[in-house]
Assembly symmetry: C2
Homo-oligomer: 363 residues x 2
């Protein structure tokens, strides 16, 4: 299970899908369609070579790419399939560079698959790592941006053939703002490729080995299903996580605000947690978990909602009143917990002025 | 007054301001700030050379540019001053071309001044003509687009240093949609320069001599003021127009919808028009004039609202209950009345399925 991944094969795709959805912490979009497209590419004879992060050449030209848009739209509006490839080509044209490898901006959710799909289409390898180790709603919330890489220029492509290059912005927050506006005009789904990075920077800034991590996590869940073992406990063991609560969803408020799914769910514990009240706030992803009014886990640590029977992840748009869930906390990678990172992905960055991040294992 | 304009001098600027505002038919933004900036450039020793349309070389590389945004925002958010210049530079970089001349996308309102300002800054001439002969709210509503020029790529620049290149879109309506979305993110005001045109196309497609027209129209109004002559009649004589009504605004409904000022005003005639009820519909610009429920003048013909005393134009954002106005109709240029043009700028294009364009002089 801990072998080094050199290539993503058909057998890996189902596992990566599950692992990536768990790491998506409710958001990031559904990796299902991307998985099917990757499978098609493999059937055509294309392949998805993987470069382990520590084998990346220092001067390699690495492009981070992924889909941008509202996950809830991605469910109904299926991509044409070459959005990210066209964004990559537009970026190459803009900068006149030859790209050596691709990397995912976020392993959580649909963007686990996008760079693998583009890699198969373009004949390029993907790097085993990503820019978040999870999913987050905005572009500047990735390690590239946090650790000093400017994401401009960024190229965007939609399914109708439109191509937009955001050539300059004062900072990556402005890039995010303009890109978000463009993607709304494009119909809330587009591919985006941003300013290439050097291999040595990627080795320093990427959350390492997250394709392998997603694959192994998904494999463990599938294996637990096959063995009739407890899949929730399997996720916890695999990721060094913690069971926060088994609970029923007794209230659910969720609405679209500025292109994001925003709201919270109220939980009533069962089993060992009978008598506990829980609450999870969300903005595409799950942001804060409270037990009886007290914050226990918050971003950037991962709050994962699993079906309590199957251990399969439930995304924000699939939450329903009455669902029986297991809430699990997983520790974020240390690159997402540094002071620089917390300024961008900590609770304050999401408007929680009264919540201070505390690593979940010390809470 | 009909001399050929070879250069815009300080003395011309006040006149162009008035003429352009009249041709703006209520929209197009206020040319005042642009005039002051042009004046500053002239004071610095820069100049604004003008090329008469018929003297343009067939192979000249001509770029159409202007401000894009909500006129109502332009009133409070003053441009930094080099937005269009930076958009031009970004377009040159995108296409690796040397530009020979600039032309206004619309002579009506603020975009009369923008190309002159950029010309002074860049050391380029402006062509005496424009793409509308008036103002219209959307980019595809210009003769370039109507007569077969694709406006992509288009480069946009804002006052904060952001630069966006819209490289490809399926058509100019999609370009408008994406550009509109970008300008909202940019704070509702930006400069935009689009795909260069050849001189021979511009000679065929531009509404001719409209800088001269605006200057002469404004001069005539100023001259009428000086002579204590009737300025409203002066506008009518100068532009071969028609007085539609002298009236008081007795009702005014105006709201922002999708970045546009939308609404209508109700008029009660006075003087020779006592007993008449009028109504003008607007979307940034005045679109349709009805007398006693019957359409008399509609787009693309120009509906101009003048202060009945001064003959100075009143833009949509300056309309007030109780104002005494003169409503004047001016015939659109024939390039805006062709079947191709009417599909894009006729009443149907603005959602009036029950209104058919009829040239105002035959109505």
């Amino acid at each position: 299970m801990t072998d080094v991944l050199r290539e993503v094969t058909d057998a890996d795709l189902d596992a990566i899908e599950i692992g990536a959805a768990i790491l998506g912490t409710g958001g990031g979009g559904n990796p299902y369609i991307g998985k099917l497209r990757c499978r098609e590419e493999l059937k055509k004879g294309n392949c998805i070579p993987v470069i382990p992060l520590d084998e990346l050449a220092d001067d390699a030209v690495v492009v981070s790419l992924g889909g941008i848009g509202a996950p809830v739209v991605g469910v109904e509006k299926i991509e044409e399939g070459e959005e990210c490839l066209r964004a990559l080509r537009a970026l190459e044209q803009e900068l006149d560079v030859k790209v050596d490898a691709l990397i995912s901006v976020e392993i959580g959710g649909a963007n686990s698959m996008e760079p693998m799909l583009t890699a198969a289409q373009a004949g390029l390898p993907v790097v085993d790592g990503d820019g978040m180790g999870r999913a987050f709603p905005e572009m500047q919330m990735c390690t590239w941006s946090i650790y000093g890489h400017r994401e401009c220029p960024a190229a965007m492509a939609d399914e109708k053939g439109s191509i937009v290059v955001i050539r300059e912005t004062p900072d990556d927050v402005w890039l995010e703002r303009i890109a978000r506006s463009v993607v709304v005009a494009m119909g809330a789904a587009a591919g985006l490729a941003s300013q290439p990075m050097r291999g040595d920077f990627v080795k320093r800034a990427a959350v390492p080995n997250t394709i392998t991590q997603a694959r192994n996590l998904g494999r463990a869940v599938l294996d637990a299903h096959a063995r009739h073992a407890d899949p929730v406990q399997t996720v916890i063991n695999q990721e060094n996580g913690q069971l926060l609560m088994t609970a029923k969803i007794v209230d659910l408020e969720r609405h679209l605000k500025g292109g994001f799914a925003v709201g919270h769910l109220t939980l009533e514990g069962f089993g060992a947690y009978r008598g506990d009240r829980g609450r999870i706030d969300l903005q595409n992803e799950f942001l804060v978990f409270r037990r009886n009014g007290v914050v226990e886990v918050c971003v950037p640590d991962l709050i994962v909602v699993l079906d309590s029977d199957t251990g399969l992840p439930i995304t924000t748009e699939m939450l329903r009143y009455g669902q029986r869930i297991a809430v699990v906390g997983l520790p974020a990678h240390k690159l997402m917990r540094s002071p620089e990172a917390l300024r961008v992905v900590g609770p304050e960055a999401f408007g929680y002025d009264d919540v201070t991040f505390c690593p979940m294992e010390t809470g």
